[in-house]
């Protein structure tokens, strides 16, 4: 696990992190998180390369716990002088935090590390010219697919190879690395004065995982099927969410199951463990050990082996997600759910690979079951219209009305609204079409009854 990536240097990240952790003084705990990545981003437009960027970056985030106080500092450099300065800064910062007896770093807990292969050597050797060619091929495929495609706003190739290590003075030693790549296109369809848009993509760990045709056809279908969209009349109806929208909903839902939010009185599910919060057919799992999950990981952000956590089983709330701090405070053990937004942040709590256990119906069967309703293909304003504390849910949406189980015409410029609590109990069908997405959630087609649609 100590190979280096694409000429990023011979320095071993775990050795560096371990050395920093070893600088802990008496009565002090030190954690070092070190990350190094190499990425390429290519955008093509109108048959030309619009931009090509390729870079390596590295950084360190250091946490110090001293006298029940925690301090954190980071730097975008692994220079020895900078690393030493960063440790001093974290130490200094700790002096200004409040005392909290639950503060502390993770310790090895004996959980076995999942056997996952998240690294593909063929990405590092994949030539830049071929990446450019695939982005151009995708742009051409989108244009050629339908005469109503007026423009391809962007066609992109992206890839990243990231390695990271966590070491603590409490004995944590964790090192991992991963590769990822994607192709994506954003299509603009037009008829007369009308313009509609739609995006498609394909992601994988290796270039050979990517499905260019699917990325192209998704973008084309989503853009063209919105042509002629009208603003619907306000109504209350059953909404069928496409898998990628379901994934967005699940990511929001998992945020309300964050153990830290529960402890701090910010979760609408506090005190509801063991209660029926959804229907019997709804089981929600966060499983970063699933090799098919995009965000599968060997370790959490504090260096504990990841594990499968069942959050809701048969509609009954089972557990919350905890990092080390929240678990100590709640009197339980970490679920290895520490997450961090790169080296610049101290670990928080969150889901990595949340998913609904798929049901037994195809999307078409669900449309038939629903009869009259609405298929939603995109939502907007999720960050402004969903309040995870009160549960209020209101987002802009685009989609297609369903009449008698068939697609009956596109609609746009409307909102759908309910509350998170009501949506969970309103689930009427769970699809069998599990779709892996480049996010912390996977999706299935999901139908939810009694949602307000605001339009004309």
């Amino acid at each position: 696990m100590s190979q280096t990536i694409g000429g990023a240097g011979q320095d071993n990240l775990l050795d560096l992190a371990t050395a920093v952790a070893g600088w802990a003084r008496d009565g002090e705990q030190v954690e070092a998180y070190v990350a190094r990545g190499r990425d390429t981003e290519i955008t093509v437009f109108g048959g030309e390369v619009e931009s090509l960027s390729s870079a390596e970056s590295a950084g360190i985030g250091i946490r110090v716990v001293a006298g029940s106080r925690q301090g954190f500092a980071y730097a975008g450099s692994l220079d020895p002088d900078v690393v030493a300065e960063t440790l001093e800064e974290a130490r200094d910062n700790a002096g200004f935090a409040s005392e909290d007896s639950f503060v502390g770093l993770a310790s090895p807990d004996g959980v076995e590390v999942a056997s996952l292969d998240l690294w593909r050597d063929d990405l590092a050797s994949y030539p830049t010219e071929v990446k450019v060619a695939r982005a151009l091929d995708l742009e051409r495929a989108v244009r050629a697919a339908d005469p109503r495609i007026r423009q391809v706003e962007s066609s992109d190739w992206g890839d990243a190879a990231v390695e990271s290590a966590v070491a603590t003075s409490t004995g944590i030693r964790a090192e991992s690395r991963r590769t990822a790549c994607y192709l994506s296109a954003f299509a603009v369809a037009g008829e007369g004065a009308e313009t509609q848009t739609g995006g498609g993509y394909s992601v994988g760990r290796s270039p050979s995982d990517l499905d260019l045709d699917k990325a192209a056809s998704d973008a084309v279908e989503r853009a063209t099927r919105m042509l002629g969209a009208v603003k619907p009349r306000s109504d209350r109806l059953t909404v069928v969410f496409e898998p990628r929208i379901t994934a967005t909903l699940l990511a929001i839902l998992s945020g309300t199951l964050d153990g830290e939010a529960v402890l701090k009185g910010r979760s609408l599910f506090a005190d509801r463990i063991g209660e029926q919060v959804s229907v019997a057919g709804f089981t929600l799992v966060d499983d970063p050990t699933d090799p098919e999950a995009y965000a599968a990981a060997h370790y959490d952000a504090e260096g504990l082996a990841t594990r499968r956590n069942v959050l809701i089983e048969g509609g009954v709330l089972q557990r919350f997600l905890y990092n080390t701090y929240a678990a100590r405070r709640a009197g339980t053990v970490s679920t290895a759910s520490a997450v961090r937004a790169g080296f610049k942040s101290a670990p928080g709590t969150g889901a990595r690979a949340v998913s609904v256990v798929p049901g037994d119906r195809s999307p078409e069967e669900i449309f038939q079951q629903v009869g009259d309703g609405l298929l939603v293909q995109s939502v907007s304003g999720v960050h402004s219209g969903v309040n995870p504390v009160s549960g209020d849910f209101s987002v802009g949406a685009e989609g297609v009305l369903i009449k008698g189980g068939e697609m009956a015409g596109p609609v746009r410029e409307f909102t759908i609204a309910s509350t998170i609590q009501r949506m969970l109990t309103g689930v009427v069908a769970v699809g069998n079409d599990l779709e892996r997405l480049p996010s912390s959630a996977s999706g299935v087609t999901l139908a939810i009854a009694d949602i307000s649609m605001s339009g004309e």
Binding site: F45, E48, V49, E50, S51, L52, S53, S54, A55, E56, A58, Q70, F72, Y74, A75, G76, S77, V82, T86, E89, N93, A94, G95, F96, A97, S98, Q151, E153, T195, Q196, T197, K231, S234, R236, K264, G265, R266, A346, S380, G381, H383, S384, G385, V389, S390, D392, S394, V395, G396, R412, E413, F414, T415, I416, A417, S418, S452, S454, G455, E456
Partner: protein, 464 residues
């Protein structure tokens, strides 16, 4: 200066060696501190520093870009070669660059550099705010507050001879409260931020901010579901600048225009809004959150009128889009960090005051929704459809504000909403500090507007 002038010239020369038509070096040294209070405790005091440079080389329609955290001459030359290779080397040849210093006034003076202020004093602001938001208000169950400051020193030099530097200091404070009642939990938030140092707190009382946030959460405990459907909407001064940011700001960015993915393409000189609307983007606006001296391409910040009395006058431009049109940049080329390519971005975007008394606007609205605070928003520039969230709103009945409403999104179509503004108040205020996201890059932006009314917008509530 971050990098010596002779080194800059050498690096630009390297970048141009393989046929580059344009080369640019952008160096940045950014440091900041942030302190967070939650659940009655200062949980975290964090600080960080990042420095590095991004180099772009343009050949024909192609931009090559590379960045490095190594600011030595060797490190910069390696990045320059990588950027040039990315832009596909053509003919070759050596060009030398004569650098000319760009002088632009700072939008405002910074009196107290945050780095000169002790961490204890910063942390104390959090404690004061926590106390003030809870005092005498038992229903306030949870409070979190964040203090943050940043200092961003940049240097931009390019093969057209531009050499510019800027020293951008920003300070911010935000507080968020949770109130519990019979109807569940509600939240209230307030924030302030400016392109100034610690003197921000000479004029801003964190206690007042805290009381405002907790009052908002308490008020919403008795809120009823927002209406569902199309209603008149009155937006309080300083609360709804994000409407214009989304309804037309993004659609007036020249990159969206060039790609024909904006509903405003080809409409300069035409009436695109109610004649009551004059929209300005202004990076020179004193201590506002989106202000700067030069943009991230070394162009001086400017005050640009985008819509004048309803007529579209101009788009916003960065170097790349301006070059294609043979015109000057409007000072709107910005980037999140040295690791990013610049693109067209807003700075402080606002609508000028009108003539109507704001109270009279309410009185003349028999029924509708009064929006006192908005959250974020999102737009599809190709269709013009946009949403934004209400985080404090009330029902208007018979010309008076009556009941508070629960959070919901509003949805509208940019060009339609701009035409449907039928009255504009004689007041004006800037709104909260914002972070505008575009293609994965976040930059600080400001917005503002007078009290105004939109004749109809769709409110995304659940009440029939």
């Amino acid at each position: 200066m971050l990098i010596d002038e002779t080194v800059i010239a050498g690096v630009l020369g390297t970048a141009l060696q393989s046929g580059g038509e344009f080369a640019e070096l952008f160096a940045e040294d950014r440091r900041g501190t942030a302190a967070r209070l939650d659940d009655g405790r200062v949980e975290d005091m964090a600080s960080g520093r990042e420095r590095g440079a991004g180099i772009r080389v343009v050949i024909g329609e192609t931009t090559g870009f590379a960045h490095t955290s190594d600011l030595t001459e060797a490190g910069l030359r390696a990045a320059a070669e990588a950027a040039a290779a990315a832009a596909r080397g053509g003919g070759g040849g050596v060009r030398s660059v004569a650098l000319q210093r760009v002088t632009a006034p700072a939008p405002n003076a910074v009196e107290i550099l945050p780095e000169s202020v002790g961490k204890a004093e910063k942390v104390d602001l959090l404690r004061r705010a926590d106390e003030a938001s809870r005092a005498g208000r038992p229903a306030i169950r949870q409070v979190s507050a964040v203090y943050g400051d940043s200092r961003r020193q940049i240097l931009v030099a390019n093969s057209e001879g531009v050499l510019a530097t800027d020293d951008q200091v920003k300070t911010r404070f935000a507080i968020s409260c949770v109130a519990n009642g019979d109807t569940g939990m509600q939240t209230g938030r307030e924030s302030v931020g400016a392109t100034v140092g610690f003197e921000l707190f000479d004029t801003v009382s964190v206690e007042e901010l805290a009381r405002a946030a907790s009052s908002r959460a308490l008020t919403k405990l008795s809120a009823r579901p927002a209406p569902s459907g199309s209603v008149p909407v009155v937006i309080k001064q300083g609360s709804g600048g994000v409407l214009f940011h989304e309804a037309c700001g993004h659609g007036l960015e020249a990159d969206h225009i060039a790609k024909d993915v904006s509903v405003f393409t080809g409409r300069v000189g035409q009436m695109v809004a109610s004649p009551l609307v004059t929209l300005v983007d202004d990076g020179t606006m004193g201590p506002q959150w989106g202000s700067l001296s030069v943009d991230d391409e070394g162009h001086p910040a400017a005050r640009n009128v985008l819509i004048e009395n309803g007529v579209l006058t101009d788009y916003m431009w960065d170097w790349l889009r301006a070059r294609k049109e043979g015109r000057a940049s409007s000072g709107n080329g910005r980037r999140e960090s040295y690791q990013h390519l610049p693109m067209v971005r807003m700075t402080n975007t606002y609508v000028l005051a009108g003539t109507e008394d704001p109270d009279e606007i309410l009185r003349q609205t028999p029924y509708g929704v009064y929006v006192a605070q908005l959250g974020g928003g999102q737009v599809n520039t190709a269709t013009g459809d946009f949403v934004f969230g209400m985080t404090e709103a009330y029902l208007i009945e018979d010309g008076e504000i009556t009941e508070p409403l629960r959070d919901a999104n509003l949805i509208g179509n940019g060009p339609e909403v701009l035409r449907n503004i039928d009255v504009v108040g004689n007041d004006f205020a800037m709104g909260h500090p914002g972070t505008c996201g575009k293609q994965g890059q976040g930059v600080p932006v400001g917005d503002g507007q007078p009290t105004l009314r939109v004749t109809a917008m769709t409110v995304g509530g659940t009440a029939r």
